[in-house]
């Protein structure tokens, strides 16, 4: 983590005065902000195309002032491929939920990765289908209660959580595969909770790298593990702690592939 703290500038790609429809404490808004900032910093805001997904991840289009086309549930990687093959200068990206990417859209994701057509996919992994009310998702942890696993996820019936980074590592196509915890870690000092900007700043650098990979002609995929405190039935601080203490065991942060050496040329 460098000492460089980037400028706290106004972000043009986010509409003025428009509040998001995310729940308080959700990191979707944070991810959106980092993406907007990164596209501006890289000077490609005017070439950006956001492809809409289905789920809470899709709500960003209301705030994001770039060209936009909605994809059906799970199909964003294929829609992005269609755009990129006819408009190679467009900078295409999508924010998929864990359900969008690993359940209904798993095939589209794997083949987009396999072909290696340059695009950037952010998967917001909150271990649930948030928008539809908190059903089990491909990344729901064993024992976790959801509306479709009311007694906790039973691995014998419902399988184990899918590790997207590991799955995509088996495919040669991607240029940049990364997982990080997006939720800030709560630090307890003398009974009070503190947060730092550490996760946000690290996430920002990862977002920049993901777009740089696309600009170099590669397929990039970043899994950001975040919270869904409403569907997890937890308070905001509790949900952040859950991600770091429990979630991170199943989805440990790390670099899975970095062909261009964007993170300084080695595995973390």
């Amino acid at each position: 983590m460098g000492a460089e703290v980037r400028q706290a500038k106004r972000i043009g790609l986010l509409y003025d005065g428009r509040a998001s429809t995310f729940c308080p404490g959700c990191e979707h808004g944070l991810l959106l902000k980092l993406i907007a900032r990164a596209l501006e910093e890289l000077g490609v805001a005017d070439r950006a195309v956001m492809v809409g997904t289905v789920g809470c991840s899709s709500l960003g289009y209301l705030l994001f002032d770039s060209d936009f086309v909605q994809a059906p549930h799970g199909r964003a990687p294929a829609v992005m491929a269609g755009i990129k093959l006819v408009e190679p200068d467009a900078v295409v990206f999508a924010i998929q939920g864990d359900g969008d990417a690993l359940s209904i859209g798993l095939q589209e994701l794997l083949y987009a990765a396999d072909r290696g057509i340059p695009m950037t996919i952010f998967m917001y992994n909150n271990m649930t289908f948030g928008m539809t009310g908190g059903q089990m998702a491909p990344t729901t942890i064993p024992g976790m209660r959801t509306t479709t696993t009311p007694r906790g996820r039973d691995v014998k019936l419902s399988g184990s959580p899918i590790d997207a980074c590991r799955l995509l590592s088996a495919i040669d196509g991607p240029a940049y595969l990364r997982r990080a915890i997006l939720a800030p870690r709560p630090l307890r000092v003398k009974g009070k909770i503190f947060y730092s900007a550490r996760e946000a700043l690290e996430a920002y650098r990862i977002v920049l790298n993901a777009f740089r990979a696309q600009l170099k002609g590669g397929f990039s995929f970043v899994e950001f593990v975040g919270t869904c405190n409403v569907n997890w039935r937890m308070g905001i601080d509790e949900s952040k702690a859950f991600v770091h203490e429990v979630g991170a065991k199943y989805f440990p942060p790390g670099l899975c592939r970095d062909i261009y050496g964007l993170e300084g040329g080695g595995k973390v």
């Binding site: 706290a8 986010l14 998001s20 729940c23 979707h28 902000k33 905001i236």
Partner: protein
């Protein structure tokens, strides 16, 4: 610093992120019904180091800009 209180959802992360304790959630609520972030010090600048932790952690883009007196974003 420039805040847009209308977007704030009162998550409180920025309040807990400011190392100087400069922020707090308001008594009143904004149009969305949330207690919003506001500067703790009435009218004064307060001991802000310009670290921009609040700007970066906010998930709603309520902290719009950090401006040092007399300059563009720190």
């Amino acid at each position: 610093m420039i805040i847009d209180p209308g977007r704030c959802k009162g998550c409180g992360i920025c309040v807990a992120a400011c190392p100087m304790g400069n922020l707090r959630l308001s008594e009143g609520v904004n149009s969305l019904g949330y207690h919003y972030v506001e500067w703790r010090y009435e009218g004064e600048v307060g001991p802000c180091t310009g670290c921009a932790a609040c700007y970066w952690v906010c998930p709603e883009y309520s902290i719009l800009e950090i401006v040092r007196s007399g300059g563009e974003g720190t």
